[in-house]
Amino acid sequence: MPGRKKRGQQTVVFDSPPVITAWASVVGPKEGEGPWGQDFDLVLEDYLFGEKTWEMAEHKMLREAITRAVDKRNFMPEDIDLLLAGDLLNQIVASNFAARDLEIPFLGLYGACSTMSEGLSVGAMLMDGGYFERIVAAACSHHYTAERQYRFPTEQGVQKAATAQWTATAAGAVLLEASGSGPSIKSITVGKVIDMGQTDQSDMGSAMAAAAAHTIKTHLSDLNLPGDYYDLIVSGDLGQIGSAIARQLFVRDGIISPEYSDCGVLLYDQSQTVGSGASGCGCCACMLCGPLLKKMQKGEINKLLLVATGALMSPVTSFQGESIPSIAHAVAIETA
């Protein structure tokens, strides 16, 4: 019976929800100094992580997060059936290189900063479909590799706009298993690419807020849930401005009293001079694989809707004057 797991327009509900049995996060020094420093598995002392280049440091961070997550269940990397990972670099090299070292069958993903949700969504569907027993979904970003790719050389004295966000140096990995103890993924909503004509590369929160609001609205209506069903709806990296816009859109869409926050707002202290907040694949990956899942483990959060958001432009399209298309995927995680 094809299509029986799909609900409404864009949502999939799982018959046997995949279980998040382990997770791990690796973050940079700045993220470690933030309010959640204690909740990450490893805080780096510097941005190079003992490597020669930032790119190599980034893939080492991802590898470290994956091996730590796998190790928590006393597995070896070769015990894992599938790795789903992505990052922000051209040709997603951080993930490719991490997968080269780990020798786990690998599917590379690109969803810009929405990659963590994308990986969890694809992983959960493959597992509920019965194809694999153990899947790792992971994502990472590195401030300095992203800066040089998307913006300016790091030592150049360019003034950052107040709307600009700080790409997080962080990696997170989640181990999904068909059975076990831990919170499980009940449903997912695959986002559509939404473009509201925003063009400012230094204000991606404004571009992505529309996608986040659209996916959240669709998720709730597909499953016929009230706005306050989730203990926390958390978007990926909208930052202060994007999340303020998203709140306005909730009002417009009639989503009543959602408990809502944003990883980009949460990751840093206000005093850390980060403009509108954090961004990057690693932002929501490390918040999920650190504070959020810990809170679920302790029972402080029972129903979490993770809505990682991605801006799907490239420097080339921006220079050519194109607007910024964006996407958001929702993953509903609940404790049993």
Partner: protein
């Protein structure tokens, strides 16, 4: 041809922009301009101070001007390497970009950034990745001004 669909989409986008622009903070123009004025002014003043000092030592004005440029470029490169110039740029904006020190910063920052890709395809190929437009349009303007001078004086 504008289809109704496209019109609705355009209206939606405009509504969205109206909403976003209410929330987006306005750039702090007065503060940014004050910073740019003070820092840019100080950099230029220090150049003038070097020139005056050298002239008072008996150096010709042309040589003194050239030396002042060299000294400022050296200092900007040094402070870029030490990681201070970008901190200054955060506050000063155009005040630290427009003077000759900003040009030096753009070149040294690129050189540092791309060093890991090697000297040919890294530093060599990309050292002007930021400063390139200044050079290209500087040359173009120089040629145009030169042509005007040729026509006016012939």
């Amino acid at each position: 041809m504008e289809t109704p669909d496209k019109k609705i989409k355009a209206i939606e986008k405009q509504e969205y922009e109206d909403l976003a622009s209410q929330i987006r903070p306005k750039p702090k123009l007065a503060r940014n301009m004050a910073w740019a004025f003070v820092v840019g002014g100080l950099i230029c003043m220090s150049g003038q101070w070097i020139i005056n000092y050298m002239v008072s030592l008996g150096v010709s004005l042309t040589d003194a001007s050239t030396s002042a440029s060299c000294i400022l470029i050296f200092l900007a490169a040094l402070f870029t390497g030490l990681g201070y110039y970008n901190e200054l740029g955060q506050h000063a904006g155009a005040g630290s970009i427009v003077p000759i020190t900003g040009f030096a910063n753009a070149i040294v920052a690129s050189a540092l950034e791309y060093k890991r890709e090697g000297y040919i395809f890294g530093v060599g190929a990309r050292i002007f990745s930021v400063a390139g437009p200044t050079l290209v349009f500087g040359f173009v303007i120089a040629v145009l001004v030169g042509l005007i001078k040729v026509f006016l004086t012939s």
